[in-house]
Symmetry: C2
Subunit: 370 residues, 2 copies
């Protein structure tokens, strides 16, 4: 997508053809800074300190991290140690493990002299594959937006609401929930996005708002409390969110607060879509409401807020009483009954076992709840 008027991805090869460059997402939205990764340790540091975040981007960064390691020394031992180092950065990230195992597996049968170049090629492929998945999600989601635009008689604008950052910053390009939005914008449909601030980590206020703004998409940041009111007043035509994990029955685990927006959408007959790459469907989970373990994170994410002071310094301020306990649940599960449709790289389907199996027939039989 566009940044400061030129197209970018979230990770790319430097002009010298071997170093890797990324956007330092911890400094967004206040400063746009790119970083150069030259070693395995640079890549591990970027993942660990969340300079990069979002499952697809973490996987891509790990793949390049292996390439950087093999460039110096392509022995089996280096490969194994590099994999361990990278895996330890975010141990629960599924894409991270997948990318490391994928690249490592392909290195086994290669002579050490061929490994670095092969790892670079595979890392580039992983990036391109992610872009293609997101582009396909975008095309299928675009059709949904086009239908709404037609239904409005091509008048005014299409108002979308999104929660958290399922944007291109979390992927290599396009994003998931944002891919249809960028495509609609690029094809000339006047879209406007209500961006949920997304407490407590403020990914909407910091990241989604920034990336939409840089690409030139009209948007307005709102408190997470506002969406219901807007839907009551006809100010939302469509909700689109991403998801961390979708169960085989179509229940959607996503950033905390998604469920409340889905309830408001249902109460006001606003379509509620969820965009997801097929690999994030967890075919082992059915109902999911009780099954999905919900991560509880450090309470300081809620009690402390970071941002930029009027004179340009980054500061962190506490907003709760010292003595008050806080709880910080990271995700919730939106029941399939509240979801109008799932937008995948293979098409749009109802949020149900039948719907998902119609797009992923090779999974027939999965997710049957007893």
């Amino acid at each position: 997508m566009m940044v400061q008027g030129r197209p970018m991805r979230t990770i790319w090869l430097a002009e010298d053809g071997w170093a890797v460059e990324i956007i330092d997402q911890t400094q967004l939205p206040h400063a746009f800074v790119t970083r150069r990764l030259e070693t395995l340790e640079d890549a591990a540091h970027a993942i660990r300190t969340m300079l990069v975040r979002g499952a697809p981007l973490i996987g891509a960064t790990a793949a390049y991290g292996l390439a950087l390691a093999l460039r110096g020394n392509a022995s089996d031992e280096t490969l194994a140690r590099a994999g361990e180092t990278l895996l330890a950065t975010r141990p629960t990230a599924v894409n991270l493990r997948w990318a490391i195992e994928d690249v490592t597996g392909r290195m086994q049968d290669l002579a050490p002299a061929d490994r670095a170049a092969a790892a670079y090629r595979r890392a580039a492929e992983i990036c391109d594959e992610d872009v293609e998945i997101c582009r396909s999600i975008g095309r299928h989601g675009l059709a949904v937006i086009e239908r709404i635009w037609e239904a409005k008689g091509r008048k005014g604008r299409v108002n979308l609401l999104t929660h958290c950052n399922a944007g291109w910053l979390a992927t290599v390009d396009w994003g998931t929930a944002t891919a249809p939005i960028y495509m609609a914008h690029d094809t000339g449909i006047p879209v406007h996005v209500w961006v949920d601030e997304t407490r407590p980590r403020n990914q909407g206020a910091a990241l989604t708002a920034w990336e939409l703004g840089e690409h030139g998409v009209a948007h307005t940041v709102i408190a997470d409390n506002v969406g219901g009111h807007l839907m009551q007043h006809g100010e939302v035509d469509l909700c689109v969110t991403g998801t961390d994990r979708t169960t085989a029955a179509g229940n959607v685990c996503n950033k905390i607060g998604t469920y409340l927006k889905a309830l408001a959408a249902q109460d006001n007959a606003v379509p509620f879509y969820v965009a997801l790459p097929g690999p994030t469907i967890d075919w082992t989970l059915g109902d999911g409401l009780g099954e999905v373990p919900i991560e509880q994170r450090d309470g300081r994410e809620l009690s402390e807020v970071s941002g930029r002071t009027a004179d340009g310094r980054m500061e962190t301020v506490r907003i709760t009483p010292e003595a008050s306990p806080v709880a910080n649940y990271a995700f919730d599960v939106t029941p399939a009954r509240l979801v109008t449709g799932l937008i995948t790289e293979r098409g749009v389907c109802p949020a149900s076992s039948e719907g998902l199996r119609s797009l992923y027939p090779e999974r027939a039989g999965a997710g049957q709840t007893p």
Copy 2:
């Protein structure tokens, strides 16, 4: 309620018997500071800069402000000018106008020499009347909590969820939504309150958490996004909020985000109660969803967050991109169908025209929607 181990109100006469003292609420929860008001200008400043907030407390402060003005000079001219000065501090505050007109009206027939003492007496009465209304709300709401406690077999704890600050800090004592909670706590029912942070102004995180903590009520601060997830998992027995305005049909205008919690409560069969003093019922409004004008406030309340740094300074930080527009809607309207009951000083009634008229029969005929 209790602060640092001793009972307090939010406004009281100083030991010298003529100055008025208040809590500087702008410094909560980070510092507990009381302020002495000695002049009309002190009182106006306290209201204008929100050292005091909450409709009942603003009214009480204005009444004492008139008393302070009359203490120096009890002429008709002083009285009129003092009323104008106070009214200009928060021109849309209904209680402010009411208190000024009430006190001013009672001064008209008095000799100037008797006015100051009479104004002090009336200001004290206004405070006591507010305390009595809140105490009655508390008693009626306590019965609701007691029934839930009995239904749980008097085991574990009663988990409540509240939004914003309808606490004693907004009134003279007890609060509205908090009155039943304090009474339940004081009678030995183990209550625990999930406190919605309440973006964008963080009244829950700053004020409700502070006052519950000082009184010794168990509580946990959560992001506004969390309540639905907690209700899905049986962690909320009861929601109680306040309201700025209730229509004659039982629709509830309250802090933005209340509607989302009411939807989640309905979806999970959690009782959702609203506590209100009868005077906040707007008998001229019926449906209310479209009729209630929703205030839009300064976007900086959303884009900037204030709090205390690790080294104890107060700072304000920006959390959104400079170029991103923000919208700041202050209230939403929760339809009566989502409200289990209204807790008033006269008892608990269904959120409906019939319910309200059963408690306020003198209003029979009001709020009939055509």
